[in-house]
């Protein structure tokens, strides 16, 4: 293992890390608005991607149709999750929503298993050509594409949050739920819409994960959930730029650990690093400035 290999490992990790970023943003978005965590988010995103497969596999649509279908499906699933796990549970019971979304995670996963008998499903890549060579380094061309799509999705999200009325409402509800209600915003509607938006984003993430792995399997859901949560907290809860950076960081770090040590020890170091990071910098990378009480 030489220097070139390590750099290459980091490059691979960075590219793959974009998918972690997308999942992390979804977690962070819901947390930012409701101050609650939606544990079923990653599983629902993958379920969206699975739904996308209905297009080409059962309706005879062209392969590219999986992408838009995945995104729409994930948005719908996001709203269903809002209705079943958040809408009717009192705000004052954060543990109850934690648990209801865990139940949802198990349910969504099992629905996917029942629909596919647990078999891996082929998922189309967004680009199927040769890799890009940069000197001694190789970049997976499709991952560069995934990276760009992720960046666009994030940009659209940021524009939505900061340039539209919905975004303003979302941020208002996030910061001052009572005041926002007094200003005539319908809390439930805004919360529900946040889940749809987060779900749509999750659909992009699910589709991109499917495209970059080349397959979907219920096996991925657990890993992606854990990675997504890690990214969310490293980035700082509620911070979108934080989630983006943290996703890339986690992707790069785990690949580097794997290159330096080996695959069986890789995750120990990721976990210990995370533990140390949280303890030393409890606010995350982009912690919101803490005011006086």
């Amino acid at each position: 293992m030489g220097f070139v290999d390590y750099v290459q490992a980091i490059i691979d990790g960075l590219l793959f890390g974009t998918t972690y970023s997308l999942i992390g943003i979804g977690f962070t978005l819901v947390f930012g608005v409701m101050h609650k965590i939606n544990m079923s988010y990653a599983a629902a995103s993958l379920a969206g991607a699975y739904c996308g497969l209905i297009g080409p596999q059962m309706l005879g649509l062209p392969p590219w149709s999986v992408f838009p279908l995945s995104i729409v499906a994930a948005g719908v699933i996001g709203y269903v999750i809002y209705l079943t796990c958040f809408r009717f549970i009192p705000l004052a019971s954060p543990l109850a929503t934690l648990m209801s979304t865990v139940g949802m995670l198990l349910l969504v996963d099992e629905i996917v298993v029942h629909a596919t008998a647990g078999m891996p499903q082929n998922y189309p890549a967004i680009y199927d050509g040769d890799p890009i060579e940069l000197g001694p380094f190789i970049l997976r061309a499709d991952l560069v594409g995934v990276f760009l799509i992720c960046v666009v999705a994030m940009a659209v999200l940021l524009a939505l949050l900061y340039r539209t009325r919905l975004g303003m409402a979302t941020r208002a509800v996030a910061q001052q739920p009572v005041a926002a209600q007094l200003c005539g915003m319908r809390l439930q509607a805004v919360n529900g819409l946040t889940f749809v938006v987060a779900g749509l984003l999750g659909g992009v993430a699910g589709a991109m994960i499917g495209a970059s792995v080349g397959m979907l399997s219920p096996l991925i859901a657990g890993t992606i959930t854990v990675k997504g949560l890690i990214v969310t907290v490293i980035g700082g809860l509620g911070s979108i730029p934080g989630a983006i950076v943290a996703g890339l960081l986690v992707g790069a770090a785990e690949n580097l650990f794997q290159a330096v040590r080996n695959v069986t020890e890789r995750d120990i170091y990721v976990m210990l690093l995370l533990f140390a990071f949280l303890v030393l910098r409890p606010g995350g990378l982009f912690a919101a400035a803490r005011g006086r009480d």
Binding site: Q8, P120, N122, D142, T223, N255
Partner: protein, 399 residues
């Protein structure tokens, strides 16, 4: 608890009633199947159940089983889900053992089989050992050497050591230009690890293949860029992938992206199922896998058609479930099992003795040998992926 029991017993009654086999002059011979019908290995459970039902149906429609007192027994199969976890596997078998079942067929996962066999009595008849006394005849869980844990454990799974030894020998004689072998191993799956480190890695040097090392990944990994570069660096003639379909496909796809080619791909026995082709038919083209089942004989074809009627497909795992029912039928008839409510424990002991005494069993592909350790040495053949289907590459039985 009582309610649970009540629900259960009413459900049991319902099942038995529906099957309609418990007619006046006949007696039900209850055989339970268990394995995973939830989670990522759900297809194993579906196929095993279908195979067992198909086999039972075939036997029942041809006159059933002749019991010790001359009555005709009809085989009654029910399949229970253990979610591929040790706890539930043990619980399911204890539940089965508490009922009228004579024997159980399962489990699907090696990580259930290992603890489960540990719960059984180690030496039959050893009064100082309070382990469970119930015969289990495994169809799927394939990790090597498990049946020696208990004398109540029997398996009808292929012996990987024999298959890979033979496969490598055949490959080497067929293609003498193949000189080196490299492996990809799913490190956190006990069976995959054992298949490489204890089986293939031992077998390869015996036929003069040079082992160039192994690339490692985990069961749920999604990014294989690094491992494929290791494969590229080793540039072996043969790449052996000791992994399950999900990561096998992941690696194969990454190899295509990076343009890494090897002369020959060898896969894990368990990957010779539909899953691999569902996930990556294009990339898996040409992969060679030794397997203990393919519909190459008349019996095998008929069995596959039967299983399809019960909404399952016959592969190397579920074919064993099918065979097990027939083996058990033979044992029951030979040992004079009565299948009466008051002879349950004696019948189980008879089945255990009968299974232990077997030296040879009939299978869909031909005769299998039984070893001292209660394992099978099954006939095998080599299949390869061709045009999105598994095709027989070489069948030592007919050639």
């Amino acid at each position: 608890m009582r309610r649970t029991g009540l629900l259960l017993s009413s459900a049991l009654v319902a099942v038995i009633g529906l099957c309609g086999t418990a007619a006046a002059q006949e007696r039900a011979v209850i055989i339970k199947g268990f394995g995973a019908k939830s989670g990522v290995v759900r297809s194993f459970g579906i196929n095993s159940e279908a195979a067992m039902r198909a086999a039972a149906d075939a036997i029942n429609s041809q006159g059933g089983v002749k019991l010790g007192d001359g009555t005709i027994g009809k085989i009654d199969v029910e399949f229970l889900d253990d979610r591929c976890t040790a706890e539930e596997g043990i619980s399911v078998v204890r539940r089965i053992a508490a009922g009228p079942a004579l024997v159980a067929i399962g489990p699907g996962c090696s990580n259930v089989a290992e603890p489960l066999f540990g719960v059984l009595q180690r030496k039959a008849g050893d009064a100082s050992d309070s382990g469970l006394q119930f015969p289990i005849f495994t169809d799927v869980a394939i990790k090597g050497g498990l049946a020696k844990i208990s004398e109540w454990a029997f398996r009808n799974v292929p012996s990987e050591i024999d298959m890979y030894n033979a496969l490598f020998t055949w490959l080497k004689t067929k293609n003498p230009e193949l000189k080196t072998i490299f492996a990809g191993v799913e490190e956190n799956f006990a069976h995959s690890r054992a298949s490489w480190y204890a089986v293939m890695k031992e077998a390869a040097p015996k036929v003069g293949l040079e082992v160039k090392g192994e690339a490692k990944w985990l069961l749920e990994d999604t990014n294989f860029a690094q491992q494929v570069r290791e494969i590229k660096a080793a540039s072996p003639d043969i790449l052996a992938i000791a992994a399950h379909p999900f990561t096998t496909c992941g690696v194969l796809k990454e190899m295509r992206r990076q343009g890494v080619k090897v002369k020959l791909l060898v896969g894990l026995t368990s990957s010779s199922s539909m899953e691999t082709l569902q996930g990556c038919a294009r990339e898996a083209e040409g992969i060679v896998i030794p397997t203990s089942f393919a519909p190459v004989t008349k019996e095998a074809e008929a069995a596959a058609a039967q299983a399809a009627k019960f909404n399952g497909s016959l592969d190397l795992h579920s074919a064993a479930a099918y065979e097990n029912i027939f083996i058990l039928k033979k044992v029951i008839e030979e040992q004079g099992v009565l299948a009466k409510p008051d002879t349950v424990q004696a019948d189980r002991e008879k089945i255990r003795k009968g299974l232990a005494a077997l030296k040879e069993t009939d299978g869909l592909l031909g005769k299998s040998k039984r070893t001292e350790d209660r394992e099978a040495v099954k006939p095998y053949m080599y299949v390869h992926a061709k045009d999105g289907k598994w095709a027989v590459l070489f069948n030592p039985l007919t050639n």
